[in-house]
């Protein structure tokens, strides 16, 4: 709980996941906002952040998720997704592909203005691309964005500051094109949509090596998003004011304040009105429901928790590699009970690598692996795990006492691990939970385990998949650097090859057709569901509490939408 959980939350989705503001959205598709006369007494909204934001406010420079939340308020991307997970225009209003699908043409919306009234031009987009591709930017850890532009011709590797990858063409002030090396159906939604134009008139003359130390980085005075930073108190709050030239219209609320609040007092701040919008714990829902003036929103999340097994582990790698073992574990764990106990019912069982809320989720996976100790026992028996003195042995007849490694800091992880241990003990698997270790230590042990000698056997973690119709390849391709579970998923090789094949197919030229891509991803999800490379556990809902007189907030699995349409009524 407490402090360190907030630190983990970038990776672990368990509780209090951040409110990622999806700031895009098409005016055309959205119903026009009902014009409640905004004579509200309140013109300031205060949003709680569970952990401190970073010091760098130039987009993508800071690695903190919370900093991204602030910069995403100030800088709109070229494209965005709507609450229905569809890719729609933002600063760019029209885009089209060349015949060979390698070049994409973009047209900048005539309404796209900087907050000082100047038009957003191709030059500004170019600067945004140059920045992401530059050596200066890539000396850092690439922030939350990573090397997003490496698909662009000429930007495979970072290029010198101030140069433009040859794949980027500045056609006119309102038109530009991007040419990619390969045909990739996922590229636009997974990478290019996030490109944020940067104000050329402010940053164009400044060498990129000096951006980090520039005044603009500390207090960017111009932006293309709904709110512009007005003042920053390092480590505790950022005050932003409405952008009068915002392309979707001037926001109705004058001031947005992002304020870092300790998770212990945030509920109190909500009740006392010091905070208007904040993520909360599942246990708090029932308590806050009864508080006058507070509303609660429950949205699914695009992330899940899982139980990983080191299939290359020197001690039990062979046992973990048996698919029947992993399937048995999936049957043995009562995931619905976990959701009831830990999430107070706000969540769903997870059956495959994509959560049910995901755009590409295969509904055929629903209700696979229902809780069934009998089925689990049966599978384990089949796999040869015999019971001796009440505990199962390995098929070789040796004692089978696998361990679970968990990270310290988050109490919920420990609670959940204890329940999992109980469930596994019930099917005679004598699993032991090792004392919690530091999260970095756990990562280190997972990272440096090519020979399977690290103490980690089973581990318990969470995954946040980010917004949009994602490309699962970075997570699941057999050579994905972080994908430790698939990496050592040695047997059978044919399954791995099949998975890679499907993953590449879902990004191929044919995959520009949603039906084709869906079909491929469906097949892939079935394969994963059957193989259980990790034991998928639960998907927890994002729980948000907000002032009841705050209206217009659209909550989805991708975050809160349309901040410029939010408004307060008098209570």
């Amino acid at each position: 709980m407490k402090k360190r959980q907030a630190i983990l939350s970038a990776l672990s989705v368990i509780t209090l996941s951040a409110l990622i503001a999806g700031t895009g959205g098409a005016m055309a598709s959205a119903k026009t906002v009902k014009q409640h006369r905004v004579s509200s007494s309140q013109s300031t909204i205060t949003i709680a952040l569970p952990s401190a934001f970073g010091p760098n406010l130039i987009p993508a420079l800071d690695s903190s998720l919370y900093t991204a939340q602030i910069t995403n308020y100030q800088f709109d991307p070229i494209l965005t997704v709507n609450p229905q997970d569809q890719l729609i225009g933002d600063l760019v209003d029209k885009w089209w592909y060349s015949k060979d699908k390698k070049t994409i043409y973009f047209h900048i919306s005539p309404k796209a203005l900087w907050s000082n009234g100047i038009h957003v031009t191709s030059k500004d987009v170019e600067l945004g691309v140059d920045w992401l591709a530059s050596k200066s930017y890539n000396t850092t850890d690439q922030g939350e964005y990573g090397y997003e532009v490496n698909s662009i011709v000429g930007a495979k590797n970072p290029i010198p500051d101030g140069t433009t990858p040859s794949g980027f063409k500045d056609i006119s002030p309102s038109e530009f094109s991007i040419t990619t090396y390969n045909v990739d159906a996922t590229n636009l939604s997974a990478n290019l949509q996030f490109i944020q134009p940067l104000p050329y008139f402010e940053l164009g003359k400044l060498p990129m090596s000096q951006w980090k130390t520039s005044a603009f980085n500390k207090l960017p005075n111009v932006g293309s998003g709904p709110y512009i930073v007005k003042s920053v108190v390092p480590g505790q709050s950022v005050t932003m004011t409405a952008n009068p030239y915002y392309l979707h219209g001037k926001p109705l609320i004058d001031t947005t304040i992002y304020k870092v609040v300790s998770p212990d007092v945030v509920a109190g701040d909500l009740v006392s009105g010091q905070v208007n919008l904040s993520g909360i714990h599942p246990a708090d829902v029932a308590k806050l429901k009864n508080v006058a003036g507070i509303s609660i929103n429950i949205s699914p999340t695009n992330g899940y928790s899982f139980l990983g097994w080191r299939l290359n582990n020197a001690v039990y790698g062979k046992e973990f590699s048996n698919v029947k073992f992993r399937q048995a574990v999936e049957y043995a764990i009562n995931r619905q009970a976990l959701i009831q106990a830990i999430d107070k019912g706000y969540g769903k069982p997870e059956n495959g690598p994509l959560p049910p809320v995901n755009f590409w989720y295969n509904n055929a996976l629903n209700n696979t692996y229902p809780y069934s100790p009998a089925k689990a026992n049966q599978l384990l028996d089949q796999a040869g795990f015999k019971i001796k003195n009440g505990w199962r042995t390995t098929p070789d007849g040796k004692p089978f006492t696998p361990t679970l490694t968990i990270s310290s800091g988050d109490t919920n992880i420990q609670i959940e691990a204890n329940f999992i241990k109980q469930f596994l003990n019930a099917v005679h698997i004598n699993v032991k939970i090792l004392p919690p270790i530091n999260f970095n230590t756990l990562l280190n042990q997972l990272n440096n385990d090519a020979n399977g000698k690290q103490p980690v056997q089973g581990f318990f973690m969470g995954w946040s998949l980010g917004s949009g119709p994602q490309d699962p390849r970075p997570l699941w391709l057999s050579n994905a650097p972080f994908n430790t579970t698939v990496q050592d998923w040695q047997t059978p090789k044919s399954v791995l090859a099949q998975s890679d094949k499907l993953l590449n197919e879902q990004a191929s030229a044919q995959a520009y057709s949603d039906t084709y891509r869906k079909n491929v991803l469906d097949q892939w999800q079935v394969l994963m569901n059957q193989q259980m490379p990790t034991n998928f556990l639960t998907m927890d809902d994002t729980l948000t509490a907000y002032s009841s007189n705050l209206h217009g907030v659209v909550f989805t699995d991708l975050g809160t939408f349309y901040p410029w349409k939010w408004y307060f009524t008098s209570k």
């Binding site: 760098n56 850890d141 870092v260 609040v261 701040d269």
Partner: protein
């Protein structure tokens, strides 16, 4: 005296050296480094390569002595390095966070002094009187409550039940008077009180016993015999002699206040050194760990030096050598 101070300052150098060496070894004994987590971040392309490059650029693949010499060399040139978790120069991070901690610690010390001293003096004058016993009891009682519980109770009472004081931060964002003296003071009260209260009991008792030992001392008896009035004796003789050990103790406690602030800073979202160093350690941000520890050590050593000087001034028997 000057020679004494110079000698003490020079004497700090080997201590600091040993501290940095120990910190350096300790932090490298911790598994993992600042960039390990990005390998697990699916949003980062070519994460393995990026990881390798960052490790190489930050010199983490070099031998420990080489890394240490590099750090010392930079330190001599006034460069504390770049924090990998904050992505900003360590000196800048410290420059941002240190003032908050100093303000908090100094205010807490003032509160301790302003409250403990009169109470302790009063108790010493009315030893075993009703008030002496009851305030002693209250002091021990307050001392017995874990600091963070106390902080949360204070927030509950004064920020939620009665909306008198803000629950977090150093200033109120988004208002006209944001950052004004009054605004800052209202934010300072609760965290400073939370930090001060556990020590207050201790200082009250220290004052009480110091004053008692001074009161019975011969020279006060003499002063009284000379016919000086009680308040005058109290202030001219007793206070002067009782206050200095307390101020001296303050010097020794500076480190404790800094370290003890970690919890309080977290609860009140007070961006100070405790928070900074805690996060640095969790994130394996080596340059920041070294920078903050060095600063802690310098603070504590200076605190000790001040304490020693005060002691030498107050007690001529203590020689500068």
């Amino acid at each position: 005296m000057a020679a004494y101070i110079i000698r003490r300052l020079l004497g700090m150098i080997p201590t600091l050296f040993v501290i940095t060496v120990i910190v350096f070894l300790l932090m490298h004994a911790m598994p993992g480094n600042a960039f390990e987590a990005l390998v697990f971040n699916p949003k980062i392309k070519n994460a393995a390569e990026v990881y390798k490059r960052l490790v190489a650029e930050n010199g983490l693949n070099q031998s420990l002595p080489v890394q240490y010499i590099h750090w010392i060399n930079n330190l001599i040139h006034g460069n504390l390095g770049i924090s990998s978790s904050l992505n900003m120069p360590v000196s800048e991070a410290i420059g941002t966070y240190l003032p908050n901690t100093l303000i908090l610690a100094i205010t807490a010390e003032i509160i301790i002094l302003v409250i403990s001293l009169p109470i302790g003096l009063y108790q010493a004058n009315k030893v075993n009187g009703k008030l002496d016993v009851s305030t002693s009891f209250v002091a021990i009682f307050l001392y017995s409550i874990p600091g963070f519980v106390f902080a949360l109770v204070l927030i509950f009472l004064f920020s939620f039940l009665e909306k008198w004081l803000p629950s977090s931060g150093t200033v109120t964002p988004g208002i006209a008077t944001s950052g004004s003296l009054g605004d800052r003071l209202t934010h300072l009260i609760l965290p400073a009180l939370s930090l001060a209260l556990p020590s207050m009991a201790y200082y009250t008792r220290l004052t009480r016993s110091n004053t008692l030992s001074v009161i019975v001392a011969d020279f006060v008896r003499t002063a009284r015999a000379k016919g000086l009035r009680r308040p005058r004796v109290m202030f001219r003789h007793v206070l002067r002699n009782a206050i200095i050990p307390i101020v001296t103790q303050f010097g020794f406690d500076i480190g404790g206040l800094f370290g003890g602030a970690v919890l309080i800073e977290q609860i009140f979202t007070w961006p100070g050194m405790g928070e900074l160093s805690f996060n640095a350690t969790i994130n394996r941000d080596y340059p920041l760990i070294l920078g903050t520890t060095l600063l802690f050590a310098v603070m504590v050593l200076i605190g000790n030096l001040i304490a020693d000087i005060l002691l030498a001034i107050s007690d001529p028997r203590v020689r500068y050598d």
